[in-house]
């Protein structure tokens, strides 16, 4: 839920451009030729920094061309609390997000093929209100699970979220329960559910569908955790380890199965999917 104040290294695709030929890595400041940068895509060849991707960019590098069919594109934000923080209403904020991103919600869902294997897929988009879990987000993720269940297709969810969407209050919190109920049905029915955790996957999203997978795949150096770093430091009054809440830290502590470089992600998914005997 801390996506508003977060001083992010991710500065958007244009700011990193030095001139038209070079991209400056937002993390290590290395100059990377733009062809190399976008081929990776958006991964620094030197420090393996993985710049965030939009949902469309992610789908482009994951799903076989021409096979993606989007679900429920019309599902959008709801404002159950008629929320306003005094300066700005949630409604206004959401409208702005829609205009900026061309999306109606923080997740894009649909059906498509990965290396010729049909899957149901949901990809979160951090640009849309920090990828927060609103009722529309939860609804789309649940409907995806539901589709995967009915058609007996593996379900793959790419997470990228600061957590719950506090403007939707308790209704947002309940999306944790709602999405997990959908995932639980997949587990019971023996349908693969693969969770891919990308930077960042925190708060209520980490504590629901993102951490309930058969297999947890993370991108290198992705921030993954429940509580915010600052809250923890205030609570325990001590400094946290440098790699705290990184994908690598979670791998070491037993919560991530595989860390896959972005260029290997599609192939990793494809290989894993072949182990399911439908």
């Amino acid at each position: 839920m801390a996506w508003f104040r977060k001083k992010s290294k991710h500065k958007g695709k244009d700011e990193g451009l030095d001139d038209n030929l070079w991209v400056v890595c937002p993390d290590c400041k290395t100059h990377v030729h733009r062809d190399e940068w976008y081929a990776a895509p958006k991964v620094c060849p030197k420090c393996v920094f993985h710049e965030r991707l939009s949902a469309r960019e992610r789908l482009d590098i994951t799903i076989d061309p021409g096979t993606f069919h989007e679900f429920n594109q019309d599902i959008s934000t709801s404002d159950p609390l008629q929320f306003t923080d005094g300066k700005e209403s949630y409604f206004t904020k959401a409208e702005a997000a829609k205009g900026r991103t061309g999306l109606n919600e923080a997740v894009v869902t649909g059906s498509g093929k990965i290396d010729d294997q049909t899957v149901t897929i949901a990809v979160m988009d951090f640009r849309f209100l920090g990828g927060s879990l609103g009722s529309g987000t939860g609804e789309k993720i649940l409907l995806g699970a539901d589709y995967a269940l009915r058609h007996r297709r593996p379900y793959i969810v790419f997470s990228a979220s600061g957590g719950a969407r506090m403007h939707e209050g308790i209704v947002s919190l309940m999306q944790m329960a709602k999405t997990c109920a959908g995932i639980a049905r997949l587990h019971k029915a023996g349908i693969p559910y693969i969770s891919v955790l990308t930077d960042p996957t925190t708060g209520g999203v980490s504590a629901s569908f993102a951490m309930a997978g058969d297999i947890h795949i993370a991108e290198p150096r992705a921030l993954i955790g429940f509580a915010g770093r600052r809250v923890i430091e205030q609570t325990i009054r001590q400094k946290l380890p440098a790699d705290f809440q990184t994908a690598e830290y979670l791998l070491e502590h037993g919560f991530i199965d595989i860390i896959a470089h972005r260029r290997d992600m599609r192939n990793t998914l494809s290989r894993v999917l072949r182990y399911w005997k439908r």
Binding site: M1, D79, G86, A181, S206, G228
Partner: protein, 319 residues
């Protein structure tokens, strides 16, 4: 954190006077019957004024009131037996989230819930009711035991939130809560949830997916603490009252939002003003809930629970 006293300080003064006069009347030499009656009247009027239209923030103060009944009070007063079970069989035994076999009326059940302390010492031990992954995993183990023994689960929620500590993160706070949510969705026994005090975000929900979710009338339940929300959205923690209001965290708001099924009435001013009556109300509500859900087959229970949660925030509901 003594805000709870700010708005009912006057009431406390009057109550103090009544107590004093009553004590003096007891030795027979002087009688203050009239004065007492006047004060009682004044108290009743004031209560109505004070509590008739509490702000959300005032409700938060009542929900956090240091004299508010805690899980242990309910265990002692409305359960005729409690056999505590310990440990997650993995790492430890969380004292801030407890569970065990429990009998209420003529019904046997499994009880889980957050356990806050009243003394500083207790609160250190119980971590102010902020559970660790070990707590959520213990709760899960006990819920699965309930399933094996075919007992309903009663879950008491009273937590500021899951513990935000280094160890809790390292041992998988997120995974523990996520796993519980998926497991509760499939639990083949009735699950009754009571938000009895603070319902703090994922830390509350981690043991809180119920066939019936009940809430005490002055309890609160929120996706984030009002202070946390204020400091993020208002960039000023002092705006917590505004945030509390905006977040719609009271029982009545939550019932309208379809997240709470039933409100259990508290005495005017809060449970701490008449704990015994409050606990009686909880007992009645629990027995009613246990009776109601005992009728359903495991399959029906799980289906209904799924539909219930799938329905929260259904897109068309708001349009």
């Amino acid at each position: 954190m003594d805000a709870h006293q700010d708005f009912d300080q006057e009431l406390k003064n009057i109550e103090g006077k009544i107590a004093e006069l009553t004590r003096l009347s007891a030795d027979d030499s002087v009688q203050f019957g009239t004065e007492i009656a006047q004060l009682e009247k004044k108290k009743a009027d004031l209560e109505k004024t004070l509590y008739a239209s509490l702000s959300a923030w005032q409700t938060v103060q009542i929900a956090r009131h240091p004299q508010r009944p805690l899980l242990r009070d309910y265990i002692e007063n409305i359960f005729s037996e409690f056999i505590e079970l310990h440990g997650d069989r993995r790492f430890g035994d969380d004292h801030g989230l407890i569970g065990g076999f429990a009998t209420i009326g003529d019904r046997r059940a499994v009880l889980i819930g957050h356990q806050k302390g009243r003394t500083v010492e207790d609160n250190v031990k119980m971590n102010f009711g902020m559970a660790s992954p070990d707590g959520y995993r213990k709760a899960l183990r006990i819920m699965k035991l309930a399933e094996k023994y075919r007992l309903p689960v009663i879950s008491f929620i009273d937590t500021p939130g899951a513990y935000p500590g280094l160890d809790a993160e390292a041992r998988g706070q997120a995974e523990a809560i996520a796993t519980n949510l998926a497991a509760m969705a499939l639990l083949e026994v009735p699950m009754l949830v009571i938000v009895s005090g603070e319902g703090g975000s994922g830390g509350a929900l981690g043991i809180g997916m119920g066939d019936t979710v009940m809430m005490l009338s002055y309890a609160v339940y929120s996706v984030i603490s009002p202070e946390g929300c204020a400091s993020i959205l208002w960039r000023d923690g002092a705006k917590a009252p505004e945030a509390a209001d905006a977040l719609k965290i009271t029982a009545e708001s939550l019932k309208k939002l379809g997240v709470v099924d039933e409100i259990i009435p508290e005495p005017l001013g809060g449970a701490h003003r008449d704990p015994r009556q409050t606990m009686e109300n909880v007992k009645t509500a629990l027995l009613k809930g246990l009776k109601k859900h005992a009728r359903f087959s495991p399959k029906k229970l799980v289906e209904t629970r799924y539909e219930k949660y799938a329905d929260i925030g259904r897109w068309k509901n708001w349009w």
